[in-house]
Amino acid sequence: MVAQVMIPEKFDVIVVGAGPAGITAALVLAQEGIKVALFERGEQPGVKNMFGGVMYYSDALNQLLPDFWKEAPIERYITRHTITFLTSTSSVSVSLKDEEFSQPPYNGFTLLRAKFDQWYAEKAQEAGAFLIPQTVVDDLVWDSNKVIGIKARRSEGIVYADAVIVADGVNSLIAKKAGLRKKFPCTSFAVAAKELLTLPAEVIEERFGLSGDEGIAQTFVGACTQGLEGGAFLFTNKNSLSLGIVAKLSSLQESKISIFDILENFKSNSIIEQAISSADLKEYSGHLIPEGGLNMVPKLCGNGILLVGDAAGFLLSTGINLEGMNFAIASGFAAGQALKIACQKGDFSKKTLAVYKDLLNESFVLQDLKTFRHTPSLLANSRIYETYPSLFCGVAKKIFQVNGHPKKKFMSLVKEEMKGKISMWHLAKDLIQAGRSLLW
């Protein structure tokens, strides 16, 4: 490997992990002239990171780098969102296309993390952050109950700082060692498997009805996961498609079906077969997703320590929205603001750093997680993945099917379709649960 860079033995702040949360925090601090180190275990920022494919608009990012989309390695901006309920032979879709989404500042973007994260880390470096790649941080250094540095896996690995921002991702071994995060069950995590499939830009545009840099974000519920808790996604990049499956670990364990096989099976669904026809596999990838919601949020700060991004479980999964990067960036931004204040005061105690929590409480990060705190239990309802997609497809089919028989009003069709699939009692119960989670 490349020779080790010389590292000063003391920084004002150390950030562990150069993903969107860590880079944002480093960028905020560097722009203030604060001496910040950004540790990254990968060969360079981005190589350890993957995601489904859509980054939603981030106000924090736009404040730090105005009109970031003009310069950032963005693939396409999302102008159409589609949710598709699938059975093995049928599908029903709901689709939104809005003109406003095709205007700056844009509502969402597809991007590739290896490129985007590297670009973003360069911005932090240009602002003065000290990037230390190829270096694993194994532990923290404590002075009684206060964090005063990190232990890197290298010779003379101890590096001191007034505070450490833990941005080491979904597995956050550091947060666990620091006692800020407990052990979470399988029901709090999903695993994703994704294929990046290349297709010429003009084929993508023709196939999906897009013009210029427009893109679509399509998510699937039902047969795509063979009835397991989770879903599938199909996003358009410039010259490629991101196709993947997300499934709860607990669900995979109970069903004894491999995430790998689920993705292969999904690709044989006729809708997907057509969408990816003649596309070549460029890269296969996988990642873990924290889906525990508010219940999963750990202690966010201690003396000289803050948790951000996936390490703090900041991800919104409602079954309709799946947002992670904007949460990571907003939390990194708040951590940067909190440490700016701490640096001015010269006080890095838990009490001073608690302003981080206040900032998150004021922002969408904790507000959205609170608003949708019941969705994790809603999404654990297995009927969402089998009964309802089959019900929706069945009713829609009966509405459109012409077969020589007299037509019935829609409610009779619903009752007919419900027979043997779901009782009135369960339907009512599910409607109340869904309402409580998403509607009121």
């Binding site: 275990r41 491999s258 790998f260």
Partner: protein, 89 residues
């Protein structure tokens, strides 16, 4: 498509030392064996009823670490710069 074909599309900086160690004796006492289903590259396979593990194609996702009900997996990151290197992500 078989798993080997997919793995061949991923770039790795292979390390000689394995970063994950599995106590496969403990696996014999495990009934659920969730590792067989949660790993996207199927690094855990059954051979003659026993769990066999290789971390050569590990994407470092951590799914096995969370899913293992027996704490049989000693999970860590590879050395800095080694392991999976996504080209696109």
């Amino acid at each position: 498509m078989v798993v080997e074909d997919k793995i061949s599309t991923i770039r790795f900086n292979a390390d000689i030392e394995p970063h994950i160690k599995v106590n496969t004796e403990t696996c014999e006492t495990c009934y659920e064996k969730p590792c067989l289903y949660v790993c996207p590259v199927q690094n855990y396979v059954l051979m003659d009823g026993k769990v066999v593990f290789s971390c050569a194609a590990c994407m470092e996702c951590g799914a096995c670490r969370i899913a293992c009900p027996k704490d049989a997996i000693e999970w860590n990151y590879p050395r800095g710069g080694y392991g999976v290197c996504f080209r696109y992500g």
